[in-house]
Symmetry: C2
Subunit: 306 residues, 2 copies
């Protein structure tokens, strides 16, 4: 019984209206596994880094109880590096640099000890690698969540459509849902996307919250209005990690548990964006998370007496 | 005891990706009073039309029990006319025509029978006229709600700031909240705007729902995800009318009642956008409204056991 998370483990350099960082540790698998580690003990990473990745960075991940046996370290090579600059609205950003480095020929290795995987999160990566990962697990996990982005819709749509047939949950943002479906209405977009394979679709809307769809139900989750968003980097990965981590903990897959998983994922994402990089995810506690989740309850509850 | 609504009563010609209308009856006071009439019996309009406004149009409004004694009819003049074309995203539109006509020298008349007003909705109009309306009521209403738009921030900011000091609730959209406050974060924007006079601020976010702020609480209301939005014209006015109509009905002003008022206002707005013009507001029933409100409950409720 474990939760396997595949994705980038990388360096980011980030500029926002509030400040600027040098190369700091980032990557989808890093954010997602840190978030998941607050809910579930057996989180296992699949990824690849170069020898520029410091042992102390790996130790930070391990200190959260995360298994890194599936994290390959390539000697003489460099880690994936991304740098970007956010606009004042924090919803849009310019990519300044993308150096694939070790990611260019990433061949995901699944250690034997990961074959007990029953929850699988496919972080944002090429759809082909996401597919290979599923195929390399001997038993089909109980739940497969796939995160992707517009880039793969542009350059690898066929692979993405193939991979979508193999997963249970897809998480994308509203613009991506529109692009993938060709429908402007998110209700119509969801109907089409749910025909492509996933049984559940989560549409992330940033500061506007998230929508969860299955064949006949919709859940609208609020976002916590924040006075300061310092750095949105990794918010989506953190959300996905918190989401699947919570489901791995409760273990039963149904719409109500998915709703709560979205609230927990959103709560973790709200911690993430309050600080630069992964800082906001390093030092949480059950009490802090419970209190943040209570803010979501207070924010959105109302009682109609009819 | 009554609810007085001041605003435009007008003709609109609307083009959306789904179709096109000739001149049809519109205007902020029309939408808002129709919406309010489903909750409260004593709704009274203040406005002005020309003699091109047909008796049957006025009769439609009266058939909802709405008092039109304060609706002036100017012989030999034409009603306010607006025409616009919506883009495919339905969130943006181009104004094709604005003919002020009778609105150019509108001097609001408050009939003696309106002096029992304890709920006042100031629909989108020049801030000066909104202010005059308040001053012409002998007793300060229990609740004054003001709706406005970016146009008045551009051309009549000083008047608007004066008027804001006199009201209890302000309803604007997210872009307008940012413009009025100079803050991008809606939390910071709300803090600043609540210093300008209103005790409550409602930020309308269209398909993303609405936020209610007072000094120390926030409520996030969902929007109903709709497969088809035929015509967003009047959605904001309908929301405001439903909101204040519900509050007039329950009569007690507190944060919880305001939350429910937002849900009822949003429910009415969801009916409004499903058809062209005011069509969606003409033929509702308590049962239809209750069932729509239940959809909002189902959409947004979750239960966390901690």
């Amino acid at each position: 019984m474990s939760l396997v998370i595949i994705g980038t483990v990388a360096f980011d350099a980030i500029e926002t209206p509030f400040g600027k960082t040098d190369k700091i540790v980032g990557g989808a698998a890093t954010y997602a596994s840190l978030a998941a580690s607050y809910f579930y003990e057996k989180v296992k990473i699949v990824g690849v880094v170069g020898d520029d990745f410091h042992q102390e960075d790996i130790d930070t991940i391990k200190s959260h109880g995360i298994d890194v046996e599936g994290l390959q370290v390539k000697n003489g090579e460099k880690s994936f590096f991304w740098s970007g600059k956010y606009h004042i609205d924090m919803n849009s950003r310019d990519t300044l640099t993308t150096e694939l480095n070790v990611l260019a020929d990433f061949d995901p290795q699944i250690p034997e000890s990961y074959q007990d995987c029953d929850f699988l999160l496919l972080g944002n990566l090429t759809p082909k690698i996401q597919q290979i990962t599923i195929n390399r697990l001997r038993n089909r996990p109980k739940l497969i969540v796939l995160d992707t982005m517009n880039f793969w819709m542009d350059v690898a749509l066929e692979d993405l459509l193939e991979t979508l047939k193999m997963v249970d949950v897809l998480t994308i943002n509203d613009a991506e849902a529109r692009q993938l479906s060709g429908e402007y209405s998110l209700v119509k977009a969801a109907r089409k996307i749910l025909q492509m394979g996933p049984k559940f679709l989560i549409i992330k809307k940033g500061e506007h919250g998230a929508l969860l769809f299955n064949e006949d139900m919709i859940f609208s989750a609020p976002a916590l209005p924040l006075a300061d968003v310092f750095d949105p980097t990794g918010a989506g990965d953190t959300f996905a990690g918190g989401f699947i981590g919570y489901l791995a903990k409760v273990s039963t897959i149904n719409f109500n548990n998915m709703k709560n998983a979205i609230i927990y994922g959103s709560a973790l994402a709200s911690f993430c964006v309050e600080k630069f990089g992964t800082e906001g995810l390093k030092d949480l506690s059950n009490e802090k998370i419970a209190s943040r989740v209570q803010e979501f309850v207070n924010l959105s509850s109302f009682v109609i007496e009819q």
